[in-house]
């Protein structure tokens, strides 16, 4: 049996192919077709989504009642969930469609705060007209967040809830935002980075204070194609300068601080505070940043390249903010 040779080839996902060769002679070929996959092929060849039951509530109370039953999956814009279902990475049994819950779709300014409903779309945010030029980080979503249909469909709450390397958690973090999560019995408030929703929770509102004088925010994304790419590095910056041009306050986030985890750059912020944005300070700050982050490599970019681009984007964003504050 020493020269039994089993060839196992994966062609995409299915069908899989198995060939058994003994002493150089082909004994048998197997093709495996997944019934699950073939079931999803309809007459005109369109692959269907896995089966699920759908609920279409029209108020937040109805949503909370449904969530309290357990086993529910929330569907907001669908730009994440539907591709995940297509790839077999999510197979919900009960889906709660939030498109009818119009009470969660708003953006308001009240008593020095912006209030954003969890179902507000990215396009609502970019085009609501409430944000002046200081909210550059929000405006730049219009350039860097997917393409037009993505911005039309994707929601603020959905982007926060999906976790990982997303644009809105990073931007909302530098804006000092808090996220309100509600469930049938109570509510809680959390930061926008690394949100973990319990099965019966929904993001109802995002709140952040209006920016003060001599402040600016910026967001930038390095991607490997001109548009609609997956960000290799994304950086969000909030900067407040004093009258003398020194850094009064600063908040920085990157998509990969440790491994694949997005986060704040507290040490780099500390190194920047009270200093001036001159070449000497910045080169010292970049050394601090170099020590502070350890991004994971993957097929898009190596750790060292990500580190380099992280520094470039942070410096550029800081300078962009400073230039516009001084203007």
């Amino acid at each position: 049996m020493s020269d039994v040779n089993i060839t196992y080839v994966f062609v995409a996902d299915w069908p899989a192919y198995l060939r058994i060769v003994v002493a150089g002679r082909v004994q048998r070929d197997y093709f495996f077709f997944s019934k699950l996959i073939t079931d999803r092929l309809t007459a005109n060849g369109v692959r269907e989504l896995p089966d699920f039951s759908i609920f279409t509530p029209e108020s937040l109370d109805e949503v909370l009642d449904l969530l309290a039953r357990g086993g529910m999956t929330l569907l907001a814009g669908g730009t994440d969930l539907i591709p995940m279902m297509k790839r077999g990475k999510a197979s919900p049994v009960y889906v709660v469609d939030l498109s009818g819950v119009s009470s969660l779709r708003y953006i308001r300014r009240e008593k020095g705060y912006f209030l954003i409903g969890g179902r507000a779309t990215v396009k609502d945010l970019v085009e609501c007209g409430l944000f002046d030029e200081r909210y550059g980080a929000i405006k730049l979503l219009g350039r860097y967040f997917g393409v037009e249909p993505t911005r039309v469909m994707a929601t603020v709450g959905g982007n926060l809830a999906s976790g990982g390397e997303r644009d809105l958690p990073q931007i909302l973090e530098v804006l000092g935002a808090r996220v309100k999560l509600v469930r049938k019995e109570g509510s809680r408030v959390a930061g926008p980075l690394g949100l973990q929703l319990a099965g019966d929770e929904i993001i109802s509102e995002i709140v952040f204070p209006e920016l003060g004088v001599r402040t600016y925010t910026w967001f930038s994304k390095f991607e490997k194609r001109a548009a609609n790419g997956i960000g290799v590095v994304t950086a969000a910056v909030y900067l407040k300068l004093g009258e003398d041009g020194s850094v009064d306050d600063v908040r920085l986030t990157l998509n990969r601080v440790r491994g694949r985890t997005p986060g704040r750059l507290y040490k780099t912020e500390k190194a920047l505070r009270d200093g001036r944005l001159d070449d000497d300070t910045l080169s010292h700050v970049m050394e601090v940043l170099d020590d502070e982050i350890s991004p994971a490599s993957d097929f898009r970019a190596s750790a060292s390249f990500r580190k380099h681009i992280s520094k470039v984007l942070v410096v550029r964003s800081l300078m962009e903010c400073a230039r516009r504050i001084m203007a």
């Binding site: 309809t42 005109n44 369109v46 692959r47 269907e48 989504l49 896995p50 089966d51 699920f52 039951s53 759908i54 279409t56 569907l75 814009g77 669908g78 730009t79 539907i82 591709p83 297509k86 889906v95 469609d97 498109s99 009818g100 396009k123 350039r143 997917g146 393409v147 037009e148 249909p149 993505t150 039309v152 469909m153 001109a226 548009a227 609609n228």
Partner: protein, 152 residues
């Protein structure tokens, strides 16, 4: 099965849909074959339609989410007898190679012209990042949209 009402190209439709039926499944099932499935993930834009005037990937929207909405597909933009000026411009510039992506591109271009009748080339190219043409025929596509906008 949920029963939904919606308007497709100006015609009121009441139909039963399954939870898992996407808008593209409903539209193609009803014979609106201009709506093409490409990537099924919101990258290629071949399935783009207008929902209440907003540009949407119909492969990422469930049919139930379109309840009560006004849907516009390519079939509602122009016909063979009465083509839309975008379609005429695309013919003028032979801006279609294999043609699979073109219905989605015309819908995206219509969305642009509805909002911005005099777009710059930069604006045309930026909105068309919503569509992928695997033949790579972008130059003529952009020229055709410029012509339809009256810029040429």
């Amino acid at each position: 099965m949920p029963k939904i009402g919606l308007r497709i190209n100006g015609v009121q439709v009441i139909t039963e849909v399954r939870g898992r039926d996407r808008l593209i499944d409903l539209l193609r099932g009803m014979g609106f074959m201009s709506v093409k499935e490409g990537c099924s993930a919101g990258d290629c834009g071949s399935c783009n339609v207008l929902v209440n005037g907003e540009l949407v990937n119909s492969c990422l929207m469930l049919a139930v989410q379109a309840r009560g909405c006004e849907i516009l597909t390519l079939e509602g933009i122009g016909t063979e007898e009465k083509p839309h000026r975008l379609q005429l411009a695309f013919v003028d510039f032979a801006a279609s190679q294999c043609g699979y992506c073109i219905p989605g591109i015309i819908v995206t271009a219509k969305y642009l012209l509805d909002r911005n009748p005099n777009p710059t080339e930069e604006e045309i190219r930026r909105i068309l990042t919503a569509n992928i043409c695997r033949c790579g025929g972008y130059t003529r596509i952009v020229e055709a949209v410029k012509k339809a906008a009256g810029a040429i």
